[in-house]
């Protein structure tokens, strides 16, 4: 089914023995018969664009961590280390393909034009959903592990039924592989040949649990059991990520049904800012993945091509500063929701029971001393 020549190990999966890659660790270009045809348009401008995207995303991510540490955000799920996986995908697909993601895909959101304020509001706790999914062709972060995979499949089935050729993408982690929802989604996708891409960022951990607990063989084998062809790729190689994403999107758009990508990568930061990763992984492992930094790899490649990387770095710094300044500004100017807003949008029309509760709530707040009503009521001491 899958017409890739680099699938020696299984006719439905490529990259099983060695994840697909086109940039070696040292930045040299490695030929790959499957991916090379998809990389013919690659020039310096495209490469520096990918570099800048990754650099800016990393800066934004670091800034969000800092904002959380300073108490401006309740929580933040860092994506450090996964920049190539996200940028490679985002820059391969037209902006009308629809993403259904988990919480860690802020790189995708950035590429889709989500503003800093929209990106942060959920993590600051001022809203449950930071942006208009239809404006960005991207659903807002899904917290329930695996749930979004079904949504992507349904969306894809609907575009197909409507005779359109845009596709849906389900983004999830290695941990999600264990959820019933994800496995059910693959059944639906396969049975209905849904135009959907399953995009797994295998960052080696689900909080503290190593990937081996979710899959005792490479994740890329799982979809093959459902009849879904899959590509296992070096997730820290942004060019390969872009190429496999183009490959999969073309396959899916041509009506051949779903495809699965396993991006083999690593979460360099904590699971979230609440996590203490020293409890479950050692410095040696971390260091080995730090050396595989996706940004440094592309930089080495550009250096070999003769790009002025000093100048590129300076440009990255300039753009990062611009982005992080905007992020910082956005966080402090995010509107605080009005207390009564919590009654809004439960149903599409108001119902008397809830109207009554809101009126009682208003009366209660009006009865309080002003300083209590502004902030909150007296609370238990140990909250």
């Amino acid at each position: 089914m899958l017409t890739t020549t680099s699938a020696p190990d299984h006719d439905l999966v490529a990259g099983l023995v060695q994840p697909l890659y086109v940039l070696a660790e040292d930045g040299t270009r490695h030929p790959d018969p499957t991916l090379d045809p998809l990389l013919r348009d690659v020039d310096e401008e495209l490469l520096t664009g990918l570099f800048l995207d990754m650099a800016v995303i990393r800066a934004l991510d670091d800034e969000a961590v800092a904002l959380q540490r300073q108490g401006e955000l309740g929580l933040w799920p860092p994506l450090r280390g996964q920049e190539a996986a996200q940028i490679g995908l985002a820059r391969a697909l037209p902006s009308t393909d629809f993403f259904f993601t988990s919480y860690r895909e802020n790189g995708l959101a950035w590429c889709r034009g989500v503003s800093p304020g929209e990106m942060l509001s959920v993590w600051r706790g001022t809203t449950l959903s930071g942006w208009d999914p239809f404006a960005h062709h991207m659903a807002t972060p899904q917290v329930i592990i695996g749930a979004q995979a079904h949504h992507a499949v349904g969306y894809a089935m609907a575009t197909k039924a409507q005779g359109k050729d845009d596709i849906a993408v389900a983004c999830f982690g290695d941990g999600a592989l264990s959820q019933g929802d994800l496995n059910e989604a693959m059944v639906f996708a396969a049975s209905f040949r849904a135009p959907v891409l399953f995009f797994c960022q295998n960052n080696q951990y689900a909080i503290s649990e190593p990937v081996a607990l979710q899959a005792t063989v490479p994740i890329a084998l799982r979809p093959t059991g459902f009849g879904i062809p899959s590509l296992r790729v070096d997730g820290n190689d942004v060019l390969a990520m872009r190429a496999v994403s183009l490959f999969a999107a073309r396959h899916i758009r041509s009506g051949k049904g779903p495809m699965f990508i396993e991006a083999v990568t690593y979460r360099l930061g904590p699971h979230t800012t609440s996590d203490d990763p020293t409890r479950y992984r050692d410095e040696e492992e971390l260091e080995s993945w730090r050396r595989r930094c996706p940004i440094a790899r592309l930089e080495r490649h550009l250096e070999q091509l003769g790009t002025d990387v000093e100048q590129l770095r300076a440009e990255a710094k300039r753009r990062s500063l611009e982005a992080t300044t905007a992020l910082r500004e956005a966080v402090t100017t995010l509107p605080e929701p009005a207390p009564e807003s919590l009654f809004e949008n439960v149903l599409s029309t108001e119902h008397p029971g809830l109207v009554r509760q809101r009126e009682q709530f208003r009366a209660f707040r009006n009865s309080l001393a002003p300083e209590q009503a502004d902030g909150q009521q007296t609370e238990g001491s140990s909250a």
Binding site: G74, L75, Y103, V122, W123, R124, G125, T126, T127, L128, V143, I144, I145, G175, A176, L177, S178, Q179, G180, D181, A206, I207, S208, E209, L213, Q214, S274, R279, Y280, E336, P337, P339, S341, L342, F343, V346, G353, L354, Q357, R358, E359, Q360, F361, A363, F364, R365, N366, S367, L368, Q372, G375, Q376, Q377, T378, E379, G380, S381, S382, A383
Partner: protein, 347 residues
């Protein structure tokens, strides 16, 4: 709750072991002692082994009892519960951790369609001594799905025991009782009280079905459970300043419900206020108030009141303090039952 020392234990050891600890530490001690006491007890859940749980409730237990008895499970709640059903068939007593309240729903089918029914379905032949631990409730500034109060779904389901804990001693004793119980027991742990401290005597036993009167009073009965027990007690102290005497009941068991304790109190006070974080619609307060009306209508001197989460999804953290029942909203409801000035008077 029986707060008398277990006679068997006290005579054997002749000493009590009272220590001040957090609720988290008390739960950890209860799990440790249960694993120690019975080789059939095992723990299973996400991140409970190497990490010790996201709240560290199982901290150190994997090192002590091994990965076969403190099992880091794949990321699948239905799998955690369904697998535990199989283990229970084979005589084990699994203690399952659901990482957060909002993640219990993938396991809903296993809990309500299997765990809750096997004993009934098999005419009592198959026992399901599972303990399902769930940190629940809000007030911690979390993102969506981390502040839910889903207890009513389970209390509504026949075949489950649903209990809550409110302080370290209660947490220790109730957890031990839950693990020893041959029925499936869901234990809802108030996560925002995990770090509150109290004295714990590990020889004290508890039952799984009775409410407890934590403070006696004469003017109104205030019923709470889980995280709001502390709030209710604080409200009672505040009410005292206004010359109002509140009787505070910690419901503890949400199913079965200890109607007798509530009714006995309402017969004394004539007034009833029920509070919880969950939305009020078809909730524990619905049930407690209906029971009181059935059991002691003639003693009620005012319509019962409830102070609950609103009938909305749990809101963003920035406004959760408005959603959660606090002392002032509780006292406002107390005032209504007493015919005192209150927020709705003008309306």
């Amino acid at each position: 709750m029986t707060t008398t020392p277990n006679p068997a234990v006290t005579t054997a050891q002749a000493t009590t072991q009272t220590t001040t600890m957090t609720m988290a530490a008390a739960l950890n001690a209860a799990l440790r002692d249960a694993l120690e006491a019975d080789p059939d007890v095992l723990l299973i859940g996400e991140d409970i082994g190497t990490l010790g749980g996201v709240f560290r409730i199982t901290d150190g237990l994997k090192d002590r009892f091994g990965a076969d008895r403190v099992i880091d499970s794949p990321l699948a709640e239905s799998g955690i519960i369904g697998t535990s059903v199989g283990m229970a068939y084979r005589g084990m007593r699994p203690v399952c951790e659901i990482q957060f309240d909002g993640f219990v729903y993938p396991a809903f089918d296993q809990i309500v369609a299997q765990v809750a029914r096997l004993h009934y379905r098999t005419g009592g032949t198959v026992q399901m001594p599972l303990t399902i631990r769930i940190p629940f409730g809000g007030g911690i500034g979390a993102v969506e799905h981390h502040s839910e109060s889903p207890e009513a779904y389970f209390a509504h389901t026949p075949g489950l025991r649903v209990v809550t804990v409110a302080d370290p001693q209660d947490a220790y004793s109730t957890m031990r009782a839950a693990i020893e119980c041959s029925d499936p027991v869901m234990v809802f742990e108030p996560k925002r009280r995990y770090w509150s401290k109290g004295e714990v005597d590990t020889t004290v036993t508890a039952d799984l079905s009775s409410a407890r009167v934590l403070r006696t009073g004469t003017d109104a009965t205030l019923v709470a459970y889980g995280p709001l027990v502390v709030t209710a007690l604080e409200a009672a102290v505040a009410a005292e300043d206004d010359g109002i005497s509140l009787e505070v009941i910690d419901l503890r068991s949400l199913s079965p419900l200890d109607r007798q304790t509530v009714a006995a109190s309402v017969r004394r006070t004539g007034r009833l206020v029920v509070t919880h974080e969950a939305p009020g619609n078809v909730s524990l307060s619905s049930e407690v108030i209906a029971s009181a009306v059935e059991d002691c209508f003639d003693h009620l001197e005012a319509a019962p009141e409830r102070v609950t989460g609103f009938d909305t999804p749990y809101p963003p953290a920035a406004v959760e303090d408005h959603y959660l029942p606090g002392i002032d909203r509780i006292l406002d409801a107390v005032d209504r039952t007493l015919g005192r000035r209150n927020s709705r008077e003008a309306a």
